[in-house]
Amino acid sequence: MLRDRTAIAGIGQTEFGKTVEGSEKALACRAILAALADAGIAPGEVDGLASYTMETTDEVDVARTIGLGDLSFFTQVGYGGGAGCGVVGLAALAVASGQANVAVAWRSRKRGSGQRPWASRLGRLPPPLQFSRPFGLLRPVDEVAMLARRYMHEFGATREDLGRIAVTVRSHANRNPAAVMYGKPMTLDDYLAARWVSEPLCLFDNCLETDGALAVVIVSAERARDLRQPPVLVHAFAQGLPQQHQTMTNYFNEDPLLGPSHACAPALWRNASFGPADVDVAQLYDAFTPLIPLSWEGYGFCGRGEGAQFDGVPYNTSGGGLSEAYVHGFNLITEGVRQLRGTSTSQVAGASTCLVTSGEGVPTSALLLRRAA
């Protein structure tokens, strides 16, 4: 079992912004070097890499650019925002099983200054997109708004509920100098007055479009004890692809509101020594506000339909994808590490456990992190 056998020993990131100088490759390399420096580990010691299939920089380029050692493990995880905890989890599995000694996971993206992915889908569409895009359901926000409207209808959730989520996450970004929305407060009235993007979702239900990169370094828990930073243990990890799921347009099964978190959660908790009631702080994938209530419900923090009112655990304390940076959820992982080091700008006093989740609405993944005793 993976439990507590590996640790995140280093975290690194570039600056975040609408436009950040440098290629995705250069940003990836900067973030990885920053994470290695944070851990106090030389690049030549790295022998494992894990990344997203959507990453534009391959292992060969990273390794020869920053002088990594001979690699004995390299892997990728698919499904965009669903991959984040997965790449970290696979890196941890590699270290725990002896396939690698020092593994790095990263994500680099120029979404702020680059093209929007949905706008590149021209021409004749294959299945399954041919059953949604021709009708004008074009963007991820449209696909999630369809589920959000149904959720609001079934459970009585309101725009004000979603607005409170956006405002809460923004308030955390306002305390985080690295956040794109640092210094830009938002009220519920601001939220309610914002322009529509896909009704029932408005501008502030959407994550940012960000340039930036992040990385983490994973070593054995034993090695981590002797390194520069307080070790943050990888307590449990799971992926989740529910039966009869369809990525993003998950409208074609018995109950489309039972998303990937409902498949990921049992596998996560069965390998953990604690449960939802013991989680001190959470970093929930927030490309869109409705994913937060769906995640609270999926991971067992409240009952179905109760997620929009749930406020029992502090969440997205760096500002998340909504207000810090949208780098396919990787900043949620590094913020989880900061909370357990005690260095978050919205520190939860005494936090010793953290749940981090990846994309809800796509095949997903999640991590439980724990402060070393």
Partner: protein
């Protein structure tokens, strides 16, 4: 993409019967010959009985609105011109877990922005209509029943 800039389906082996039937004014859904269960979107085997045998019967075209959205720009140019428009997901009368994405329109030849979104409600009964959008493509859309 059509001349109008709207996105269109390609006709691959799995889904061509659906689009060919739509050209002829018929809504068809894949049905397993082994267990009789309907499935959509199409795929080569039945996930419930694993049979690779299937047929494409016509369904009634009666459905109810399961959910809907109203997209606003930024959108691809051809869609931005029509925005705000509606996109609905409807649940078929024959099996409410068979759902299809489409648009609610005022009549069989009306555009996707022809219905006031404020008048759309979840649960509303609808009926399929067919709109030719390119020489070789007809899309199923929906009107109030």
């Amino acid at each position: 993409m059509s001349d109008s800039g709207l996105l269109l389906p390609e006709f691959d082996e799995e889904a061509a019967p659906f689009w060919t039937a739509a050209m002829g004014g018929s809504l068809v859904v894949q049905r397993c010959d082994g267990c009789g269960r309907l499935r959509f979107p199409p795929r080569p085997a039945c996930p419930w009985c694993q049979s690779f045998e299937f047929s494409w019967p016509a369904v009634s075209g009666r459905a109810t609105v399961w959910s809907f959205v109203v997209p606003h720009p930024p959108l691809l140019p051809a869609y931005a011109e029509l925005a705000p428009y509606n996109v609905v997901v409807v649940a078929l009368e024959e099996d409410p877990t068979i759902r299809m994405v489409g648009n609610l329109v005022a009549s069989a030849d009306a555009p996707i922005n022809s219905v006031d979104p404020a008048t759309i409600e979840i649960g509303m009964p609808v009926q399929v209509v067919f709109q030719r959008v390119a020489e070789d493509v007809t899309l199923p859309r929906w009107v109030r029943a």
